[in-house]
């Protein structure tokens, strides 16, 4: 469709113009500033800063913890979504609303609370310490905080998809002789898998950038439990803007890749769905 069509409705120029100006001022110009700053570095310099031992260690912590958190939620988030859609229990609507708590609760509040709970003398840490399990101020603490923050992503991505599964599909599988477990493994799980992957990527992407909830519980030991965003802040505080820029470029590049992945996944899920129903 050409851009000259459909102008009977008013406000196209105004609304698009406003949106573009707003986005340019708030997003494109700042991003341009970052790119410009980064371009003052030669690639060799950039590479040296982006791959220092400390930086590599921080990527490892960030990626590892984010992956672990997303994986935990892939299991428990799927379970929660399944139970919320399929099984009746009293207070279900309240529980359903409560799942969004991590979206609504400021991350700093989550951070200090989780740190307190999982510390050696905290309500949970107290019971884990004798077993030799330390959560707070270790990389495991980061995983806990990230899992807390990202739980709703997976639940909320899966819920509508599980709701959309027609009962006939399961009835058909059952009538063809599949056991309940076979039906789940061969019929239901493949149906929700694209959404699970999307939710996983959303959660992973959010976890990578998360800062507020992590710093309180992480202990922030360089090389051990220091996440990349914290390393960026440390560099900024040392007035090492160039170093911070290089790391920010790395994170931004990863963000873009994840954003594209999410778009591709959603497109894939949508086109699969269309193919099924059409």
């Amino acid at each position: 469709m050409t851009s000259s069509s459909r102008r009977v409705l008013p406000g196209f120029g105004l609304s698009l113009g406003y949106a573009l100006v707003y986005l340019s001022l708030l997003v494109l110009i700042p991003l341009g500033g970052l790119v410009l700053k980064a371009s003052t570095l030669t690639f060799a310099e950039f590479w040296r800063i982006a791959t220092t031992e400390q930086a590599i260690a921080s990527y490892r912590v960030s990626f590892g913890a984010s992956f672990a958190a997303a994986a935990i939620n892939a299991v428990f988030g799927t379970l929660v979504a399944w139970v919320l859609v399929r099984y009746p229990f009293p207070g279900k609507r309240l529980v359903d609303a409560f799942v969004d708590l991590p979206f609504a609760l400021p991350t700093a509040v989550a951070g200090i609370t989780l740190a307190t709970l999982y510390a050696g003398n905290g309500w949970i840490g107290r019971h884990l310490e004798p077993l030799g399990v330390k959560i707070a101020y270790t990389p495991y603490g980061i995983v806990v905080a990230l899992a807390f923050i990202t739980l709703p992503f997976i639940v909320r991505t899966l819920q509508p998809v599980i709701e959309d599964i027609e009962p006939e599909i399961e009835e058909a599988a059952a009538s063809l002789g599949a056991s309940r477990w076979q039906t789940f493994a061969k019929v239901l799980f493949p149906a929700i898998f694209p959404a699970l992957l999307t939710g996983f990527t959303l959660a992973f992407s959010r976890a990578l950038g998360e800062f507020g909830s992590v710093i309180f519980i992480a202990g922030n030991l360089p090389m051990v439990s220091e996440i990349t965003p914290l390393l960026i802040i440390a560099k900024l505080e040392q007035q090492d803007v160039v170093g911070a820029t290089a790391l920010a470029v790395v994170m931004l590049a990863i963000s873009f890749v994840l954003l594209l992945t999410i778009n591709a996944l959603q497109w894939w899920a949508a086109s699969r769905h269309k193919g099924r129903t059409a």
Partner: protein
């Protein structure tokens, strides 16, 4: 009862799964929420109240509210404008624009805050010019507002775009063909149709604006009584081992989060009721059946 439906798990499976899911939620989400209030009241109600009465805490509350109040109108305007352009017109680069709107969800808040340091910081692109004119953005409230704007601008747009796409253009076209001006069409037809979605987006954006930590932290400079929002103040108190103070401030934020959840849920139920009621009235996805 078990054999009632082909697609129902045995009762013990259902009970176990429900118990595990609810147990997980209670331990993982419920316990932290309870802990906030228990820790805040650990030294008794008077200590809690005096912690809240602390002038710096009160200033932080005020600053958080001011930032949210400044940011929200911009987000509403942007959300409505972007949704109107995207849901009502076809133009080149539309999908790019849609992707761009998602960007803040993918970018780390720390990186977001840093973008503004690079622009407006003492050694940033516009830093010298700003210091010449004696205007501070970084380590001052304007920078915190910018960072919060960056983090929160997608919320309203993201709610409105799918909503308006589902509603289709026909009602607005009908209004125009009946002689309505642009403003009359917007006020009498568009706005009533999107009001719940708009409110929903505002609630989410507001929660994020009040609670944002990473981006604001980078640009605030943590000047007590000046550039401390409530979440930043929580951090300061916590690092000073003032647990009661930190959790008292945190409890205010947790209460706001609960209010957000309640408001959000009410709006969701309203929207569900309305869509259920209007289901029959919604035109199919394709507004035109041909061409």
């Amino acid at each position: 009862m078990n054999a009632r439906r082909a697609n129902a798990e045995p009762r013990w499976v259902r009970l176990t799964l429900t118990a595990v899911a609810l147990g997980f939620l209670a331990l993982f989400l419920g316990l932290p929420l309870v802990a906030v209030f228990v820790e805040a009241l650990a030294a008794g109600v008077p200590a809690y109240l005096s912690a809240l009465a602390d002038p710096e805490t009160q200033h932080a509350v005020l600053l958080s509210l001011v930032i949210a109040l400044v940011v929200l109108p911009f987000n509403v305007l942007f959300g409505v404008a972007a949704a109107w352009a995207i849901a009502r017109f076809d133009f080149r680069g539309k999908s790019l624009l849609t992707t761009l709107i998602d960007l803040p969800f993918a970018v780390s808040p720390v990186v977001a805050g840093m973008l503004f340091i690079l622009l407006f910081g003492a050694r940033g692109w516009f830093g010298p010019w700003l210091s010449e004119h004696d205007f501070r953005i970084i380590f001052a409230v304007p920078g915190m507002i910018l960072a919060t704007l960056f983090i929160t601008f997608p919320f309203v747009a993201r709610e409105l775009i799918p909503l308006m796409q589902a509603q289709g253009r026909e009602e607005e076209e009908a209004a125009v063909s009946l002689g309505a001006s642009g403003w009359q069409m917007f006020r009498r037809v568009t706005l009533p149709n999107i009001k719940w979605g708009l409110l929903y987006g505002v609630i989410l954006a507001n929660a994020r604006a009040l609670g944002e930590f990473g981006a604001v932290s980078v640009v605030s400079g943590h000047i007590r009584g000046e550039t401390n929002t409530l979440p930043l103040h929580v951090e300061i108190l916590y690092n000073e081992y003032n647990a009661v103070g930190a959790f008292a401030a945190a409890s205010v934020l947790a209460l706001l989060a609960l209010v957000t959840l309640v408001a959000k849920t009410i709006v969701e139920w309203r929207m569900q009721k309305e869509t259920a009621m209007l289901q029959a009235d919604l035109p199919p996805e394709a507004v035109r059946s041909e061409a």
